[in-house]
């Protein structure tokens, strides 16, 4: 009896959590007549890819297609990931491998800067981007997201670097490897999985971001996907079929990436509070 109640509660939670995602995908596959019918269909009665075709072949905003925005977003996200991964790896090595004077101060700073409300930085960063002449360019966003993703990336990577036994590097050093070689041939391959996990977080940060992209980019052809979607979606008489198809295409890569790394998210954020 108790078991039944628990399972029922579990199903209820699962329904609440997953339903919007299901509804997004389900709506995207329904013909418009089903979407706007007065009695909603739980499952698409006549599934169709028409909305996807419309999104992928037509223009999301006059003159610019979904794929153009997709490419903009991808450029920004990939550049952020590469830069942030590289810089974070160096810093994480410093923190995990050396004991030096400012080490603790640096770690505390990492924690504190992660708590800076990024929303409060829109105005000063807008000033900086204007002064640097980067307004209305994709690099303005790459730079911004690099700053946002770096602290968490260092914090997370330091655990991965620390997990590689020091003896391996020492052995390589004895065998005559230079420090650069040790880093490249021993440490780097062993930290690579951690680097992948960290990169995914940086990717999601850059991919999902809306406010700064909304503020720093003026030219519609340079919009990232989130900005394009708010415009596309914000028109009167929302056409939910294509909106849900675009949402699905935007969301799926994030969900896939996220599921790959979610375990580390908890350990990274709760930093030491949860043992084991």
């Amino acid at each position: 009896m108790k078991k039944v109640a628990l399972n029922a509660a579990g199903l209820l939670v699962a329904l609440f959590a997953a339903f919007p995602v299901y509804w997004m995908i389900s709506t995207s596959l329904k013909p418009s007549s089903e979407i706007f019918s007065s009695t909603p269909q739980p499952v698409p009665a006549h599934p169709t890819l028409a909305h996807y075709r419309e999104i992928l072949t037509g223009n999301l905003i006059p003159g610019v297609s979904f794929l153009d925005f997709f490419v903009n977003s991808a450029i920004v996200a990939v550049a952020t990931v590469v830069l942030s991964g590289l810089v974070a790896l160096l810093a994480a090595t410093a923190v995990a491998r050396f004991r030096f004077k400012l080490r603790t101060s640096f770690l505390i700073m990492l924690l504190v800067v992660q708590m800076i409300p990024l929303e409060a930085l829109v105005i000063p960063l807008f000033l900086m981007i204007q002064r640097l002449g980067l307004y209305n360019t994709l690099p303005s966003l790459i730079l911004t997201y690099l700053g946002f993703s770096l602290p968490f990336a260092v914090w997370m990577l330091r655990g991965f670097v620390a997990a590689v036994p020091k003896e391996l590097e020492e052995a390589a050093a004895i065998d005559g490897a230079s420090r650069a070689q040790t880093f490249r041939r021993v440490l780097f391959p062993l930290v690579a999985p951690g680097l992948v996990a960290t990169s995914i977080f940086s990717f999601i940060t850059a991919w999902n971001e809306l406010i700064f992209a909304l503020t720093f980019i003026n030219d519609q052809s340079r919009y990232t996907l989130p900005v394009a979607m708010t415009f596309f979606f914000g028109r009167d008489d929302t056409n939910w079929g294509p909106v849900m198809a675009a949402s699905t295409l935007f969301t799926l890569p994030v969900i896939i990436f996220f599921l790959l790394v979610q375990r580390r998210m908890v350990s990274g954020l709760v930093a030491g509070a949860v043992k084991g």
Partner: protein, 328 residues
């Protein structure tokens, strides 16, 4: 992985670390340098800059570019904001919203965490996977879907209310036809839906963290208490909660910080920055600065106020994390 390379116990190996330490003293700083520069330039400098900007009257992009002068107004922006009754509305919205959301997220997240811990293996995996979906969904698309669910003509909720027996619907709400009902028009209803969206997005993290914490608690403790006849309520407050107190502390602080600065969900749900009665601090700051006519100085002052509030919360967080790093 430790056995990948055997380290020979030679004299050279024993001497090596010491020799290296003396020689490469500067290396860690070199490795840190790029990260320090980026964090300094892109996070700390703007943080100082936002404070500086809040002391000026900045009403055009040309001033930002440096083509025009920056008139100093001292605390003028702050007195303008604090003497405006609208600020009180915004502050009340922000604090009440954050309080309600932290409370609901924590309660729901903890309950789901406890539930996942009690479910059978298959069921737990299934429920946890569904919960992960809510967590993984980007704030933007998650909110768009909720807006579709609350659509005033073909939305699921509108349909659900229309499906209620007319008598019941009339008795409870004074209307039976819900088609065209503006779910987002009254501020209270708007905040209720925003709360639903934010809680839906944020309870998975709490649930998974609580579950991870529970797994680290020896189950004998719970079994012993249950054998002694303690009610689940007592078991939670007398055993689970005290053991997980540090986890709860950090989760509450993190949730508070997140819920204080909700932006994307509100921006999408309200369809921009025009819905002033539902403003909270972060969107208020943004709207003042970027909606024409731009008032960057005023927006900066609001951002500073938001930051100061969060700074206090962050202080608690850092102290907690450091305490735990010491203990582990």
């Amino acid at each position: 992985m430790t056995t990948l390379t055997e380290v020979p116990e030679t004299a050279a190996a024993r001497e090596n670390p010491a020799r290296r330490r003396r020689r490469v003293d500067r290396l860690p700083y070199l490795l840190l340098l790029p990260a320090l520069v980026i964090i300094g330039v892109l996070l700390l400098w703007p943080l100082g800059q936002v404070v500086a900007m809040s002391f000026y009257r900045l009403n055009s992009v040309r001033q930002l570019r440096g083509d025009r002068e920056w008139p100093w107004v001292g605390l003028g922006n702050y007195t303008d904001i604090l003497s405006d009754p609208f600020f009180l509305t915004v502050l009340r919205n922000t604090v009440l919203f954050a309080a309600a959301n932290v409370l609901l997220t924590m309660v729901l997240g903890t309950l789901v965490g406890l539930l996942l811990n009690r479910l059978g293996r298959k069921m737990a995996t299934f429920v946890a996977s569904c919960v992960m979906l809510a967590w993984a969904t980007p704030a933007l698309t998650g909110t768009i879907v909720w807006k579709w669910i609350f659509d005033d003509t073909s939305g699921l909720v509108t349909w659900l209310f229309n499906a209620l027996p007319d008598g019941l619907s009339n008795g409870l709400f004074g209307r039976s036809d819900w088609t065209g009902y503006g779910w987002f028009n009254s501020p209270l209803l708007f905040f209720a839906i925003l709360t639903l969206v934010v809680v839906w997005h944020s309870f998975p993290f709490i649930a998974v963290s609580v579950l991870a914490g529970l797994k680290s608690v020896p189950s004998e403790l719970h079994e012993a208490a249950r054998v002694d006849g303690a009610s689940p309520w007592r078991v939670f407050w007398k055993i689970t909660f005290p053991l997980l107190r540090p986890v709860f502390g950090i989760l509450i602080v993190l949730s508070t910080i997140w819920d204080f600065k909700v932006f994307t969900q509100q921006f999408v749900l309200a369809g921009g920055t025009q819905d002033r009665p539902t403003f909270m601090l972060s969107i208020y700051s943004y709207a003042e600065a970027f909606s024409p006519p731009p008032k960057y100085g005023l927006g900066a002052a609001i951002a500073v106020i938001l930051t100061l509030i969060l700074l206090v919360v962050t202080g608690f967080y850092v102290r907690m994390v450091l305490k735990q790093e010491d203990e582990s």
